[in-house]
């Protein structure tokens, strides 16, 4: 396990918990999905796993050492994060924003490959035509791809994607799917949250299923995508049918009734 959270609690306003004694483990090379209903605490969980939120109690360890022991910069060389905020202040260009992905490596010997990594990220995220535009003039889907390129350029072994498909249409999601698979095949560990159960079930190898502020189930996709567990987490009756897409990826069709 490269990333382990134990008994993590995050309290919100007025004494309620956003996360209540949550345990999560992510193994090396997993494509790890985080799913659950609105308000279950997926983003908060992504926040503590990526070190952006410090839990009020509990521990998060990356490669057996506490996340809190790493400096902000060391952390940024260990993991990259695609958040949900897409707005960028002032009129920065796409090329400038993608180059920020290399900021954590300034002054290290890795910096010598900055240009190469930026070009690769632009190619993988398919944004070459957008480079000279200002990011705030782009559509939501285009902006998302620019931020994905920035996160790829950061080139970390562990990557977090918080609802990466939320601003994308069908074709955009297909592109995203390919991008994430490419990153995964490159040996990286990915943690991806989403509301699109069919898509994420076809993409991921492992799943953490959140209910109200706690983990309902965790494990390989087939073990978690069951009617019982999903129904329990979403508090409604859900049926699951497995199917295979055109490229041979098995995915779950989940319907509530």
């Amino acid at each position: 396990m490269i990333l382990v959270a134990k008994k993590c609690t995050v309290s919100g306003e007025s004494g309620q918990f956003r996360l209540d004694r949550v345990d999560v483990a992510v193994g090396q090379g997993e494509m790890h999905a985080v799913i659950g209903p609105n308000g279950a605490g997926k983003s908060t969980l992504m926040g503590i796993l990526s070190g952006i939120i410090t839990p009020d109690s509990g521990t998060v360890e990356l490669m057996d050492s506490p996340l809190g022991d790493l400096s902000v910069r060391e952390l940024a060389r260990s993991r990259a994060v695609l958040g949900q905020e897409l707005a960028v202040s002032f009129g920065f260009t796409v090329a400038e924003v993608v180059a920020w992905g290399r900021a954590p490596w300034r002054g290290t010997k890795e910096a010598s490959s900055d240009q190469e990594k930026i070009e690769l990220a632009i190619r993988v995220a398919e944004i070459a035509l957008l480079c000279d535009r200002r990011i705030n003039q782009l559509s939501g889907g285009e902006r998302k791809r620019v931020h994905i390129a920035r996160v790829i350029a950061q080139d970390c072994p562990l990557m977090f994607f918080d609802e990466p498909d939320s601003d994308l249409d069908l074709v955009g999601t297909q592109q995203l799917d390919e991008t994430l698979r490419t990153l995964h095949q490159g040996g990286r560990t990915l943690v991806v949250s989403s509301h699109n159960l069919s898509w994420i079930s076809g993409l991921s190898t492992h799943v953490t299923l959140m209910g109200e502020h706690e983990v309902v189930a965790a494990g390989p996709v087939r073990k978690v995508f069951t009617p019982e567990l999903l129904s329990q987490a979403y508090q409604t009756k859900i049926s699951v049918t497995w199917s295979t897409d055109a490229r041979g990826h098995e995915f779950a069709i989940c319907t509530s009734s």
């Binding site: 952006i52 952390l75 994060v81 958040g83 002032f90």
Partner: protein, 320 residues
């Protein structure tokens, strides 16, 4: 990053303009042009205008970048009023004007004003764009009121009236004034130069910047400290001059883009140009009567602020 060539051209053009303005500023004025006048009166005044321009424009860059607020200006967020009050307080406890002592007191009170405005404007971990300006108004009003009470109840202020402090003037900028301001401005500029790349990443928002390796709280605190040093040093000697910190970075961003290191350097030169020009106009337009230099900058700056305010409001869908 964007158009480094254009940044150089703009920077050099501004630098040439600055040199011409310095020459004009030194050679024209009400009094005769003997070397004593130039050396003892016009040269320190010209240097002071240059330094204050550098300080205010750079402070604007730092405030706007660190607060992600294109409407921030040292005078509009209350930092300048805090500094002016500090300078008057310093004089009231017996420190001479145009001294490092008065500058130090101004830095302290200006920091307090900045901290107060931020504390009031924080909401859910964000610093609200408009609340910063509204709190700035309140802090400025408080500063001006406290200042006029001190000035009217003691003779510490000497020839410096309330209006000297609220609209600014280079008329009392002598060599000791220059010496009282340059160290803080130099420290502020060095800090700003090293913080500039991190300010770029702050444009991603606090979480995005943190995820990209920026120690957000530390960078923001240092940027605001630099903005305070750059503002307070000038204000302690020449009073409050508004809108330079707002308009100059905005105009420069339109020409060379928002990347902070270039923005900082070009805005610094641009600020010097603008204030030298404003002071030359203030001295010569209605000669021998001198107009307050802050009035010159406000006449141009206030309309620009209105346009920007309208744009920011449209972008955010109105402020109910």
């Amino acid at each position: 990053m964007k158009n480094p060539g254009r940044s150089w051209i703009v920077g050099i053009a501004l630098f040439i303009t600055l040199s011409v303005l310095i020459a004009v500023s030194l050679n024209f004025g009400a009094a005769s042009t003997d070397s004593v006048v130039i050396w003892n009166i016009r040269l320190p005044r010209t240097i002071a205008a240059t330094l204050v321009g550098v300080g205010l424009a750079s402070a604007g860059v730092l405030l706007q970048g660190s607060l992600r607020n294109p409407l921030a200006d040292p005078a509009l967020v209350g930092v300048s009023a805090g500094a002016a009050l500090g300078a008057v307080l310093g004089a009231a406890i017996g420190l001479p004007f145009n001294s490092i002592g008065v500058t130090s007191v101004a830095v302290v009170t200006s920091s307090i004003a900045m901290a107060f405005v931020l504390w009031v404007s924080r909401s859910n971990g964000r610093i609200e764009v408009v609340t910063v300006l509204l709190s700035g108004i309140a802090v400025s009003a408080f500063g001006a009121a406290a200042m006029s009470i001190i000035i009217s109840t003691s003779n510490a202020a000497g020839t410096r009236s309330v209006s000297f402090w609220t609209t600014g003037s280079f008329s009392l900028s002598n060599w000791s004034g220059v010496n009282a301001m340059w160290p803080a401005i130099a420290i502020g500029m060095v800090l700003a130069f090293f913080l500039a790349p991190s300010l770029d990443l702050l444009a991603l928002g606090d979480e995005g910047a943190h995820a990209s390796g920026v120690a957000v709280s530390r960078v923001r605190a240092l940027a605001l400290l630099a903005a305070v040093l750059l503002t307070a040093a000038g204000v302690a000697v020449v009073g409050v001059i508004a809108f330079v910190g707002l308009v100059v970075p905005h105009a420069v961003r339109l020409v060379i883009g928002p990347s902070h290191r270039q923005l900082l350097v070009v805005s610094a030169v641009g600020g010097a140009v603008v204030l030298l020009l404003a002071d030359t106009i203030a001295r010569l337009a209605l000669s021998p009567i001198e107009i307050p230099v802050g009035s010159v900058t406000a006449i141009v700056g206030a309309p620009v602020f209105f346009v920007m305010l309208g744009r920011a409001r449209n972008r955010q869908g109105g402020w109910a």
